[in-house]
Symmetry: C2
Subunit: 222 residues, 2 copies
């Protein structure tokens, strides 16, 4: 398998091509860090981007929803769709209004969608999806009953085209603006976890799972 | 003006309607907290969700991009589109795999898009967009030159239909699962700012602006 995705009209980086990458490892790393994606597709007369959890297994992404979910229905019905993942890394404040920007890592991908009917693959997908919530979380839960599996629609997307776009680093001001009396720099942003809140209905304490997000330093120090 | 948006097929909350709201204040609060939206639209044969910054002025959202931006072009050309905003608030870990969930606040909206040609409105939109980076930031920057305004396409979206969807609170497990020996609860998530990093090219220090994101506690204590 090649190290780069083939380029399509949907995934070609036209603006700031120097920020783009079609490298599979770069794309995978962004996908694996994100906890949700936006699934864009046509539903009837509309075009909707639906936020949803997902999990990756090689070149396959799994998403799931209720059996009646319209977007998932449209997907496997052959409607055009794409998946976008966006990690917001910072606010970039320049001396000029024009050069304000954001630091981010994002992916846009397209592919072929199919319903996961095979029982074994469906269970594998559910395990991958639950493990996004914490390391080995699927082994610290009750596995799905048959009726729960039947009530869940799982869609596999085989990635065909994907591109990543990344901006990092500080502001790029015009040389003439460098002496303006304004603060310029980056405000780094990150998604963090505050202290886990146990269910008040819990009847006895159990170990808190390792979550896939950095804990707030305050919580680490406690 | 009514307190609620009229409901359309694109914005109707079908799944978990008890989590839905069409209230303008609820929708506005989510829009005003989010630093980016996903703009979903048809571009040629494709459907793409593009992450982008935005600003709200009453019932108008402003987005901007380079003059040649295809998505913005499609929008004002009458292609169907919608805007989704998603705030991820927490991981909800249940005792069963099936009841794992996420806490979030999201908005889907549709409306009419138009190019902002009027110079005064374009400047107002740019001020609103820059002020998303920090309180009064537009007054702590060099205002755009004419050629910078000319190189920027600003689109106004007049909101016609919008809905919010919110999940909060702990896991909802089946009564039979309550004694299972697994941790259950919520891991709260939030986007925070780490210590601002001044541009190394800065020639003298200037006050750091008030950013619209909570600073990490560690930084506050310094």
């Amino acid at each position: 398998m090649s190290d780069a995705y083939p380029i399509s009209d949907a995934t070609r980086i036209k603006r700031h091509p120097e920020r783009g990458s079609y490298d599979r490892d770069v794309v995978h790393a962004i996908l694996d860090e994100a906890l949700l994606c936006h699934l864009a597709c046509s539903v009837g007369q509309h075009v909707i981007a639906m936020p949803t959890t997902f999990a990756r297994d090689g070149e396959t992404l799994y998403v799931h929803g209720a059996i009646a979910n319209r977007s998932l229905e449209a997907l496997v019905g052959g409607a055009p769709f794409s998946i976008t993942v966006t990690l917001l890394d910072g606010l970039v404040l320049a001396r000029s209004a024009f050069h304000h920007s954001m630091n981010y890592r994002s992916v846009v991908l397209t592919g072929k969608a199919r319903i996961v009917d095979d029982r074994e693959e469906k269970i594998t997908a559910m395990i991958l999806l639950v493990d996004r919530f914490g390391r080995d979380r699927s082994r610290q839960t009750r596995a799905p009953y048959d009726w729960e599996l039947d009530a869940t629609k799982v869609i596999a997307v085989e990635i065909e085209h994907a591109s990543a776009k990344t901006r990092s680093g500080g502001p790029i001001d015009d040389p003439d603006d460098m002496n303006l009396p304004y603060w310029a720099g980056v405000v780094p942003l990150q998604l963090v976890a505050a202290a886990p809140v146990p269910d008040p209905e819990a009847r006895e304490p159990h170990p808190v799972p390792d979550v896939p997000v950095q804990l707030l330093p305050r919580n680490r120090e406690e």
